[in-house]
């Protein structure tokens, strides 16, 4: 007899709690929003493809950036540059620059600013 009462009370309490929780949840959009923000974001499939170790990868800043590039005029470059050396040629407002890709293969990046444009030379 007393067992049935306990069960009945438990059912009542449980139902009431559920009802209160349902009411609170549905009448309080913040609670719903919180639930969403707690959820773990989906991992980015692109980032899963990033290779951070192994044969090809290198430590951060292993390749130095040429931050103060120096240039030679055509006549100064004689003896340094051979005719068939491959370069990346750039023109900005009548200024011309050539970047030998052989140098960029070692350093990868040149930080530059030409005609007020901040540039990143890479190959």
């Amino acid at each position: 007899m007393s067992g049935k009462i306990v069960i009945a009370i438990a059912v009542l309490v449980g139902t009431a709690t559920g009802a209160i929780a349902w009411w609170f949840h549905s009448s309080n959009p913040d609670a719903a929003a919180k639930t969403v923000s707690i959820a773990r974001p989906e991992p980015d499939p692109l980032l899963r493809r990033v290779v951070s170790s192994g044969r090809m990868a290198r430590p951060r800043d292993f390749f130095r950036v040429i931050t103060q590039p120096e240039y030679l005029a055509v006549d100064e470059a004689d003896g340094w540059m051979v005719e068939d050396e491959v370069v990346i040629g750039l023109e900005i407002d009548g200024e011309y620059r050539a970047y030998p890709i052989n140098y960029l293969n070692d350093h990868e990046l040149v930080r530059e600013e030409i005609g007020g444009l901040p540039l990143l030379v890479s190959w």
Binding site: D61, E91, L119
Partner: protein
């Protein structure tokens, strides 16, 4: 060739040393966002989804560039070199793969790759890229490929090949008969001021990496 400015913020870059689809990844020192070298796209951090603006460049030989632009300066040989990586790293890797390059041409809303192999027998190619008209000029002796918009004002020009010289590809506008330098996109006969074609943003791109970075983007000469 990237402009290192996004949303009016000028960035300083370093080398992260990581790779995505065989392209190196840079980081910006201001926010430590990650950027892909091949595309200039930010894949993580404050600027995720943003793209570094690019500028037109010409991949060519020193002899060719100097002939076209005698006032050019050339980057001096950097004093510090990293010989170890060169022997060990991706140059060897690319050699093993038998790397083939193409000219990647970027219009505002789409891009297309022109494998240099496809251009060897074609000094000029006139093509369309969506609504954009593209003139590809290829100089076999120096393996130089450039891309222009053959429109001046409202006139869309059609060109024929005149001659491939040691240092240029001379082309003629069929309407006016004016002769142009195909490699600089500048008229070299006719009245002053001599017009100049607008160069598309281009870069050389490894052909087999193209679909990884620009999936679905067309490749010239392929169905």
């Amino acid at each position: 060739m990237y402009v290192r400015r996004v949303q009016e913020t000028t960035l300083e870059f370093g080398h992260r040393g990581w790779l995505l689809d065989e392209s190196f990844i840079f980081y910006d020192k201001e926010f430590d966002s990650l950027w892909v070298q091949a595309t200039g796209r930010c894949i993580a951090g404050k600027f995720k989804g943003q793209q570094l603006p690019t500028l037109p460049v010409t991949h060519t030989t020193w002899g060719e560039w100097r002939a076209l632009h005698p006032r050019t300066l050339v980057l001096a040989k950097p004093s510090l070199r990293i010989a170890e990586y060169k022997r060990d790293g991706y140059e060897v890797y690319y050699e093993e793969q038998g790397t083939k390059f193409g000219l990647a041409v970027f219009a505002p809303d789409r891009q297309k790759l022109y494998p240099l192999e496809e251009l060897q027998a074609r000094p000029i190619v006139q093509d369309t890229l969506g609504d954009h008209v593209v003139l590809i000029v290829f100089h076999t002796p120096s393996q130089t490929a450039v891309a222009f918009d053959p429109t001046v004002g409202v006139d869309r020009m059609a060109f024929e090949l005149v001659e491939v010289t040691d240092t240029d590809v001379l082309i003629r506008d069929l309407n006016s008969g004016v002769v142009w330098s195909g490699l600089t996109g500048r008229a070299i006969s006719g009245d002053d001021p001599r017009p100049q074609l607008r160069q598309y943003r281009t870069t050389q791109f490894v052909v087999f990496n193209w679909p990884k970075h620009f999936p679905g983007s067309p490749v010239f000469g392929m169905p």
